[in-house]
Amino acid sequence: MRMLIQKITGLLLFLFILSFISFCLLKLVPGDPVRSMLRVDDVAVTNEQIQQMRAQLGLDQSVFVQYGYWLQNLFSLDLGHSYMTARPVFSEFIEKIPYTLMLTGTSLLVMMIISLPLGILSALYRGRWTDHISRIFALIGSSIPSFWLGLLLIDLFAVKLRILPSMGEGSWQHLILPSITLGIAMSAVYVRLVRASILESSHQEFIRSARARGIGKKRIFTFHLMRHSLIPLLTVFSESIGSLLGGTVMIEVLFAYPGLGKWIVDAITARDYPIIQGYMLFMSIFIVLLNMAVEWSYRYINPAIAIGQRKKGATS
């Protein structure tokens, strides 16, 4: 219980500091959304009207005052409205997040389907043709720009074979091409990571001990070797989830997929401060929770970590 309270307090403090820093950084960047809001490129606007609007939004006040207002609204669970669409930030976020989570999940699945078998095979057949193939795959996969790979896949599956939709959303088929595009790009890195992790674990003392105790090979592989190899992979895995949650702009644009990446890039371009702040807040909560989950999973995957932590707690 005490640990939980400590964690929650830490999380709140972290969110406060992060939101304040991001707010200040946003305001340090020159420009504001007023010209976009008043559509200077579409309707006649005077400089006086621009100044009036700036004052109306409180953008002429100090960054501390503006942050204070934002925080005050946050306490009443109001993240504000988008300057561009006039819609609540929370509604827009809730609209986008399922798509992003779905694409993140399927991309990671594709990545695992490709990288685990290839990585394991290249570790098991180290120095042989399987290993060479996986190395070539990793080289090609990390060299191909993902938007180009996406275009190639669209050309093959949507234009030539006409078996998959080229863009959009609505069915599971729509997820296949963007997921494969992202999955291949990520698996190029993971294949080598899986390989290295398995090879490193296979030389550990506890594997030899397990064999000496007469434990079956399958069991050693599944419950000892793989389990131990998972720990470094999990760390990178959680980082990949974080980057997928906001960093798939190119793929979203290419496949007209309505995720968070394009949404936040557009908001940054238009200086849509309420959207940017809301996104920062949600993402930081999500990433902190994700890291906590990964930390917890270490203890499950390798009980030695939990025992070590308990001993450390007892002695301190």
């Binding site: 095979l121 180290r126 644009v253």
Partner: protein, 511 residues
Amino acid sequence: MLLSFARTLRYPISLLIIVLVLSGCTSPSSSSTTSEATPKRLTLLFNVQSNTIDPHTDVNYTASRAGISETLVKVDDQQQLQPWLATSWESKDGQHWTFQIRPDVTFHSGTSVDAQAVKDSLERVIQTNPAIRNALHIEKITAKGQTLQIVTDTPLPQFPSELVHPNTGIIDTAVDAGTPSGTGPFVLAQFKPGIEVDVKRNPTYWDGQVKLDEATFSFNEDANARLLALQSGNADVVYRFPVESLSQLQTDPNLVIESVPGLRAHQLIYNMNHTHLAKLPVRQAIDSLLNRQEIVDAVMSGQASVAKGPFLTDSPFSPPYTDKPFDIQRARTLFAQAGYTVSNGIVTDNGTPLTFKLITYQSRAELPLIAQLLQANAAQLGIKLEIQQVDNADEYLAENKDWDMAIYSFITAPRGDASYLLNSVYTPTGGLNYGQVKDAQLNTLIQQLNQTVDSDQRNHIAQQAVEMIDRNLLNSYIIHPNNFVAHQKNVSGWVTSKSEYYMLTKDLDVN
């Protein structure tokens, strides 16, 4: 030991790979599949995505473009105002306006469109959209039957043209604007933010029979992906495909390419506070370095026309323009006549070589290329142009004073009236007057325009103002990019409008 693991794992891994391959080979549901039993439907793929369909706030006008909402006044391709939901309008002083609202029109919700409904809709847009509030200057609206009276807080002779703006679309305010109920030929079926709008035929459309049963207005911001969607049959009409694929598309017997000059003008802005650029001969010399035809041919692949002034030559507010040929020798002569030294391939002022900072931005890919062409021609003459790309040109040009010229682009006459350009760019307080133009004579003319109600007189004054801009070369207008569209051959009734406000119309059909 690892090899024996490998043998054990061989079969599950092979199985996984087979599953992966097979999962990619399942046939999808194709939107392009049609048969006689299926309804007539069309998919239009547009190049900008929208996260809202509220006609009053959406900066991409999706509801108007998808045929859901309509405005009181519309603009035709000759840039003339035409009645739409208003059958007529009049004002003697440009401040007190009377509009007659078209009878027998109903919203998609079934409610009749009367003056009160229009008043409610206009009041909502004023409340939700600060840009439109500023543009309309409405002080008071009175509704009685089908007669709508509007008083503006200042004389605003261009008021009807402001009502062309799609954000003034008339909707039933009793219905949530997130699922707008308009008066157009299509009724909203579903809106997926950032993806598409699905619409179906409005069976009681006031302007006649709607030919399509259903349509989808989709978004994709990647030009190559739009092209592939057209080729794969996922889209029937595609906006702005990559120009480099034009020749390939033109040879495809199943496709039709349409291209019309747009209302946008790419231009060169001069910072009038700059010592050298404040001088007319210097601006004229730099204008002579713009090879407009080369830009049309090489940069735009022919999908543009040479700009002789801010508006298209056939516009009612365009005067007869003078030609502006590309002529480096003329530029050299102009510099020499203005007291600069042109020798050894360098233009100098009292021994100091001329160097200018040229701003451009990436969101229109051709703008940096135009900047580079100008830079190359300037270098040939002996002037150094330092190109700087910025993320947000509006912000940069407004907030910074350290730039000399800028390659910029905007729609100069979006709604059938010249006052937007003249007031925004050429009045001292104009929001787009980045070049700090302060021309008293021109300003007087613009103020005269702002007081003139008669449209012929307005056009005449606008022509005089444009002549003055042209004569003093306050900006160099470079090209008008085309609006170009490719569609499947079985699509009929498609019109590529100059304004791009109207796309899904009642006449659009698939055969």
